[in-house]
């Protein structure tokens, strides 16, 4: 063997270093905490614990209620989202872009903002004059609001690229619009519909902020909420871990369904062709299918804005919410809007940066380093709910609890999959010959990464980083478990205010929610301008 040959063999290429970095990150911040949760949940005698858990009436009741709620939410979401998705894939019409943007709003909206919006609409003293707090109806409405965009985007996007050519083919074979929908469009979309449903199910099953705000009475507490209550109010870590274990199992099963189907749903079949304008009947159909979700999406946001300046119990326009929100911290034991915004931005910047580096490293390891298993593993943080993650970090790394970096790392972990998913397609799209050409021109692996790959990745990177930042801004569950008062982010500040009596606190909460929404909207608008989102 030549001297130095071994050295060449272990040289750190970008792919290899990326794989090591990403593996270490996922191992320390995800695997170890989850193992800690499972170990704690199973206790010293796993078998006995499992039997106990299975027999525990409290757990069974919570699991049953959560399953029922999540199933109903999913069915309703698909029922409302599917016609919209079909309409989007079928026609082009004026206002389509705006509507698509509107439907994306809930997708990136922090759950606390959605909760506050529905509270302003249908809570005590809400804009519609009906108080539905603590009812299943309100929970379902909020979940449909929150998730129907998942169906519209996944199913609509899939069909828009796949269906037009096949619809043409069906027409030349004698199938009219209705028959084509029945025989081509729906069967074609079935994997996409099921994948979207699985995703929606996971979201609703692990729903946290929405439940905590809209059904504080506990009747519709999800396992996720119970985990939080066990940790925060009672410090019963054993119960929390058992609940988390149960939740993980269900979420993993649904997540497995999603990943299995998503691969099939994501196959682009042929190039998109321009869509036709709807005829008269089509216009009616469009209005009927798109109006309800459009109203449902816009109403809570409008109510939020209105109620922030007309809190219940006040006459006319009142700015008490605004002055209370920006009052210095400490007054009434709540954090000020200034400090919460500052905290949120700090966490978003730090976690966004880490997520971008780790997410890109991970994508590199998958595509260039051959670390295949990381492709799947990169989705794990998405499948793990925030409170469970917080609990895991609490159990595994108690020293991180209540520190800036503890929560920043948690947010980075949650944001990483978005970066990876956004970068992967661009990276895969770079033809191998381009790298080879650079190599024959004298560029080593690092120089190739810098001069050939990176420029092609920029749009995806910006998209992914923006998503990671938006996710950090809105993250609630992990922050609630891991944070301490001085580090309170905007979602925490909103929740604090909502929990306090009085019109002033209520209005201040809505003002903070508006602020958070605006911040998120700015990020998303920048994203839209600078880059495109990847495969989510």
């Amino acid at each position: 063997m030549l001297p130095g040959a071994r050295l060449v063999g272990v040289r750190l290429s970008p792919g290899r270093l990326g794989g090591l970095l990403a593996s270490l990150f996922l191992a320390l911040l995800l695997v170890v905490p989850l193992v800690a949760v499972v170990a704690r949940g199973l206790g010293g005698e796993p078998l006995a614990t499992v039997r106990e858990l299975a027999a525990d009436p409290f757990l069974r009741e919570r699991l049953g209620a959560t399953l029922l709620q999540a199933t109903l939410s999913t069915v309703l979401t698909v029922a409302i989202g599917l016609p919209g998705a079909l309409a989007f894939a079928r026609w082009s019409f004026p206002g389509k872009r705006i509507l698509r943007a509107l439907f994306t709003v809930p997708f990136v909206m922090p759950s606390v903002v959605a909760g506050a919006g529905f509270l302003a609409l249908l809570g005590p003293g809400g804009a519609l004059g009906v108080d539905l707090v603590d009812t299943l109806t309100l929970v379902l409405l909020a979940h449909v609001f929150y998730n129907h965009a998942v169906v519209v985007r996944m199913v609509g996007g899939f069909l828009e690229s796949a269906a037009p050519r096949l619809r043409d083919a069906a027409a030349t074979l004698g199938a009219g619009p209705f028959r084509t929908t029945l025989r081509v469009t729906l069967p074609l979309a079935a994997p996409a519909i099921l994948a979207a449903a699985a995703l929606v199910f996971v979201f609703c099953f692990t729903s946290f902020g929405v439940i905590l705000i809209l059904a504080p009475g506990g009747a519709w507490d999800t396992l996720e909420v119970e985990i939080y209550r066990s940790v925060a109010r009672l410090m019963r870590l054993d119960t929390a871990a058992a609940l988390a274990l149960l939740q993980l199992l269900v979420a993993m099963a649904a997540g497995g369904v999603y990943t299995a189907l998503q691969a099939r749903a994501a196959v682009p079949l042929s190039g998109a062709t321009p869509l036709p304008r709807p005829g008269l009947g089509g216009r009616w159909l469009l209005a009927l299918t798109l109006a309800p979700p459009a109203v449902l999406t816009a109403a809570p946001l409008v109510a939020l804005a209105i109620r922030s300046v007309t809190p219940p119990g006040t006459e006319g326009i009142s700015w008490i919410g605004w002055s209370a929100a920006f009052a210095p911290s400490g007054l009434l034991g709540v954090v000020s809007a200034w400090q919460a915004t500052w905290n949120s931005l700090r966490f978003a910047a730090a976690s966004g940066l880490i997520a971008t580096v780790v997410g890109t490293a991970l994508a590199y390891a998958v595509v260039r380093g051959g670390w295949r298993f990381l492709d799947r593993a990169s989705l794990l943080p998405l499948a793990t709910s925030a409170v469970t993650l917080g609990l895991g970090l609490l159990l595994a790394w108690p020293a991180l609890t209540g520190t800036f970096w503890g929560l920043a790392l948690a947010h980075a972990l949650i944001g990483t999959p978005f970066v990876t998913r956004a970068v992967l397609p661009s990276l895969r799209g770079i033809p191998a010959s381009r790298s080879a050409a650079a190599a024959t021109l004298g560029a080593g692996p690092w120089r190739r990464a810098l001069r050939v790959d990176l420029p092609a990745l920029v749009p995806g990177l910006i998209g992914g980083a923006g998503f990671a930042v938006a996710v950090s801004l809105g993250e609630f569950g992990a922050a609630l478990v891991l944070s301490r008062p001085e580090l309170a982010t905007l979602p925490i500040a909103i929740y604090q205010r909502l929990g306090r009596p009085g019109a002033e606190s209520y209005a201040a909460a809505l003002v903070l929610a508006l602020l958070l929404m605006a911040l998120t909207a700015v990020i998303m608008a920048l994203l839209d301008r600078l880059g495109g989102p990847g495969e989510i």
């Binding site: 796949a162 050519r165 096949l166 043409d168 083919a169 069906a170 027409a171 030349t172 074979l173 004698g174 199938a175 009219g176 028959r179 025989r183 081509v184 069967p187 074609l188 079935a190 196959v267 079949l269 042929s270 190039g271 321009p274």
Partner: protein
């Protein structure tokens, strides 16, 4: 097989400002196959989609056997189509793809099965019934698409560049196969293609399209014998064109085509200077200039006919018969 006459008059199709099809008049007599030939972007595929009913014309009328097709949706036209990317249904097997149109037309199960079997046999895909489209090669997919379009016995079959997604050798092979199959099944077809050889091999008549209009229509021989204008001649690969100005000096009324294949060696002929010589198969191709007329041309010849192989710089004499000149555009 039914025979229909298709009649297009003044058909226009716009995309915003662009007139993809810009006033097409075309008659396809009953029983005749037609090829729409043209460079990419000339509007030929759009015209085909208008005929199929997939896009409405912005102006003009389409008639099939005298019946106006305006407002008739594609599913009621009885026109079959083979798409460029085949557009096979990925969720259906080969068999179900072929049976798709039969189900729509309410064929009884037994007849449906028989027809599918018959067609899969005709396109040589027996045994692959249970496969999904993605498990087939490009050539096999193309044949499934053909069988699917033919199954419901369409009055007219439209083929949109059905061979363009295949590699060169496979394409040549399948061109012949397709021509044989269509004549065997006695199918009246309109082919869209940008490949001249394919058009000439597949169709009785060829309509050449350029910038949304039909430039010329006729049998392959008619087109080659009398191209209507310089663009047409160039498109057909007839390269030795003399621009109008220069042609006038030689006594012609306008842009003139020199048919080099009619030039023959003749000691009493005109002098040409040899610039380059290279072999094309067993033939020689000479790049020649005529000092007399200031023309540059390429001329193919069998080495035997010349006796010796000329060198660059040599002068050879060629007889240019009168019928070697074709005046294309007479300038008014």
């Amino acid at each position: 097989m039914p025979r229909v006459a298709l009649e297009l008059s003044g058909v226009v199709r716009r995309y915003g400002e662009v007139r993809a099809v810009d006033g097409v008049d075309l008659i396809v007599p009953p029983g005749r196959t037609l090829a729409l030939l043209g460079p990419s972007g000339c509007g030929k595929s759009t015209l085909l989609r208008v005929v199929a009913g997939l896009e409405p014309p912005d102006a003009g009328t389409l008639r099939m056997d005298g019946r106006d097709l305006a407002g008739v949706p594609p599913q009621r036209r009885g026109i079959g189509m083979v798409f460029q990317d085949y557009a096979l249904f990925p969720h259906l097997t080969v068999k179900d793809n072929v049976a798709f149109g039969l189900v729509e037309r309410g064929w009884p199960v037994a007849e449906r099965e028989a027809r599918v079997t018959e067609l899969l046999d005709a396109v040589d895909l027996t045994g692959l019934e249970r496969r999904r489209p993605h498990e087939l090669s490009g050539g096999q997919q193309q044949r499934v698409a053909l069988a699917r379009a033919l199954a419901p016995r369409p009055a007219l079959l439209l083929l949109d560049e059905p061979l363009s997604n295949l590699d060169r050798t496979l394409r040549d092979e399948l061109t012949d196969e397709l021509a044989e199959l269509l004549s065997e099944l006695d199918v009246q077809a309109i082919h869209v293609t940008h490949d001249q050889n394919e058009a000439f091999a597949l169709a009785d008549r060829v309509a050449v399209m350029h910038a949304g209009r039909i430039v010329q229509e006729g049998t392959p021989d008619e087109l080659l014998d009398a191209p209507r204008n310089a663009w047409m001649a160039r498109f057909l690969g007839l390269r030795e064109l003399i621009p109008a100005g220069q042609a006038k000096e030689l006594g012609f009324a306008g842009t003139t085509l020199l048919r080099v294949e009619k030039l023959r060696p003749d000691p009493d002929g005109r002098p040409f200077e040899v610039r380059r010589v290279h072999r094309v198969g067993t033939d020689l191709e000479l790049a020649l200039t005529s000092p007399e007329w200031g023309l540059a041309l390429r001329w193919q010849v069998r080495p035997r006919e010349l006796g010796t192989t000329p060198e660059p710089g040599d002068t050879i004499r060629l007889r240019v018969p009168d019928d070697a000149w074709t005046v294309l555009e007479v300038e008014g």
